[in-house]
Symmetry: C3
Subunit: 332 residues, 3 copies
């Protein structure tokens, strides 16, 4: 593996999950693999889970880790080509990426969208220029459009929980990705990413949200000539209660509109996840990538109940990062 | 040991000091103990000594360390229960603590008081919720009311210096904790903590300050049914010169009023520690937890003289942290 | 070696470069040397290359590294003696340096000039007080007047490139340090430092800049009684085109005036390095310490051409730091 920015960088997601669960069982089995190797984690936006879990994963593999909050500890970076740099940006991303690539064997980059211009955000300029200029493997710590470490941890969690349940042979879990209200304008990266992993996984994916919150269909369906042999197209439903019926997993998340780009079209509190909503499901586990706003996205009663899987899900971020770093280290 | 937030978490402070001095003599003797273990240091307030000394102590024990300035590198944390999180806080402490506990074997937390509401500050909400939700041992890197790593380093320093002096059999040092002036409103955590350690130590403790600066008596005296077999009650004196007479250690510190909570009642420069004041003592060592404001708390002439023990005291922060981390690691 | 703040701390720069190139060839050969040793990197100003390369160098040598952005993670530091500290500074540099020296075997310090008062800046107060009070070896991560890790990396790069070229026996490269325009007021530390290394190296040094940008001659010439047996005096030329003729290395950098201290005297775009300018040289390599403002200091066409050596130069920062840390570790 030479980069990790999307499910499209993964050959076989089921095998990947199995391998991640082996890392979880034997966290220090590959401690020699990362010896004398440095992971550089470059943050252009804040992070808690991603930083700590990736740092821990790298340390489990014997790597050294350098964390750099580039925006706060360094300076502003220019990303456009051909610009006369007479403004606030002190360094061009061409140099920044190439230089960091001199000091680190692998680079992780977090760069959020500005949510002002859809084409600009969806071009993923920062991440792609890092890949282009770093000269070493780059992993996404959440880009403008996707959050693959999160989605892999989500799939690990779903797999763990589903496998521990008694069930009919060959049955698949029903996974519902549901929009929920939030006071601020948020990216589509987590739902985009979750969707593109789930349409490739052995699950039935339903996405429910108010009208106008449709995600980019490039992420919610496999291309017709996909050929992965499974998955398919997410079912979109505008009625949350209907969507929840028979669900095995409720994955809640807020996002702003993709169509009316970066707009908040609804703050309808009826979309908040409550015990009453969870009662519609098949005893579903509640999932969220965190951080989560209590009593906006989800009621305390759900988060504080045994139905919540969010802490386990966050814990699995380690194994998501560790299996990817392992695969990259093996091919250095 | 499962947590370290106060002297009350320690079974025998004299034995603890002895064990800390063994760490000082053999800093790397337990380097295997922390292997594959991560210490997470979570700061909600600035730190120099505490961060560096705890990081060093953990590294001496072979641990990996992750430092997170949660307020600056992450986001604002909600601590109240049942709140509708539609404001600035992006994550609840319940999730933050539990998630960090997924990535670290031990967590250290620094959280200062706001000095607006005494009951709120003295409930130590941030620290206590970390203990409640982290699922792993938590150590205080200074809470709203106490600073136990500092106090243990103080006792180590006093013990070292006292033991190196020729003295009468069974004599005890006279230790004076003295208030001193400062331009800003400061917490009571260092003096509270120093007092609760000293009333349990083999010393005679005098506390001197202007009227109105009395500390919470829960910290300045042992409970009647204490049963520790030593220590007792601090003697309070409003006359600094009288208090200094015959002192072996002068421990200076500013704090704001506990009674008129968070107020500055005096900025009287006569309380500054000078050579003239030190001349009243029994050739006492000058101590301060640092950072110290020169020529406010203490005159240059004292800090720059051989009477100052502040750098040695700061150096002992390593062994204070190291013995506690060692004890926790041993019981993981 | 007990400190590294200038070329004057180096006994033999040619031997040092050779030893640095051995580190580059065998990066992990001395991994036992730094075991149980901690490097503290203290930043009072932002950093990318210096932080990452020094951190990497220390890790290659087996050291633990603690990074502290003192201004952002700690508090404001007082540097003047005898002050009544009733303002914003919470700690005096005397204590800060001595305390950090308790926790680290080696300290690196970055402190930029304020560019308001020449005498004050050129006294290098922060760095010198760290040296005075830390009690352990101190290395400069760029001071108010010099940037020795950069200059050593520059000399390593020039040596590598020059040695790989076919050439006449005993010939020396012509190295041109050229001023270039920039929108902000910048220190003289990089050009000062480059000059003081080059006048001691086996090169012919030309410095070209608009009138008024003359550097302090203490850095651009060897003292008459130098005795190093080589080098000499930089040739100053006000005509950039003339200076470039026959050059083997073009080292571009902006700086503000030393004479009219901290002033911008020119923003003349004709001084920007372009392909046309490079065509005047002897197929020279383009060098810059980075970060560099594209199309201000240098045109894209040069930076994106094979003539640019800036990434290699940045990569060599590791070996510059590593050989110095190694020499200090060997004498601890």
């Amino acid at each position: 593996m030479k980069k990790f920015t999307s499910v499209r960088d993964v050959e076989n997601i089921n095998r990947l999950v199995k391998e991640a669960l082996i890392e979880k069982q034997f966290p220090f089995a590959n401690k020699e693999l990362g010896k004398n190797k440095t992971l550089g984690l470059i943050f252009l936006n804040p992070s808690l889970r991603t930083r700590l879990s990736t740092q821990r994963a790298a340390q489990n593999l014997g790597m050294d880790v350098i964390v750099m909050n580039l925006d706060k500890e360094g300076w502003s970076i220019e990303t456009k080509d051909g610009v006369v740099m007479d403004g606030s940006a002190a360094e061009h991303i061409k140099e920044a990426a190439a230089v960091i690539g001199q000091y680190c064997e692998i680079i992780g980059v977090r760069s959020f969208p500005k949510l002002l211009n859809r084409d600009e955000d969806y071009s993923n300029e920062v991440l792609n220029k890092f890949i282009q200029y770093a000269g070493v493997p780059v992993v996404s710590l959440e880009s403008a459009t996707l959050h693959p470490f999160q989605s892999l941890a989500d799939l690990i969690t779903i797999t763990e929980i589903w496998n521990s349940k008694p069930k009919t042979v060959n049955s698949k879990p029903k996974v519902v990705l549901t929009w929920a209200p939030h006071p601020k304008i948020l990216p589509q990266s987590v739902p985009n990413s979750f969707a593109e992993w789930m349409v490739r996984a052995d699950v039935d994916l339903v996405i429910t949200h108010p009208q106008g919150y449709e995600l980019d269909t490039r992420f919610t369906s496999l291309p017709p000539t996909g050929g992965e042999g499974r998955g398919g197209v997410a079912k979109i439903m505008y009625n949350q209660d209907e969507a929840f019926k028979g669900a095995d997993f409720i994955y809640a998340k807020n996002w702003s509109s993709y169509k009316e780009y970066g707009k908040i079209l609804s703050q309808d509190k009826n979309w908040m996840i409550t015990n009453k909503k969870m009662a519609l499901t098949n005893n579903a586990k509640f999932m969220h990538c965190l951080p989560v706003r209590r009593n906006m996205i989800v009621a305390d009663e759900v988060l504080d109940s045994p139905a919540s899987g969010v802490i386990r899900q966050a814990g699995n971020r380690i194994w998501s990062a560790q299996i990817i770093l392992k695969k990259i280290l093996e091919q250095l």
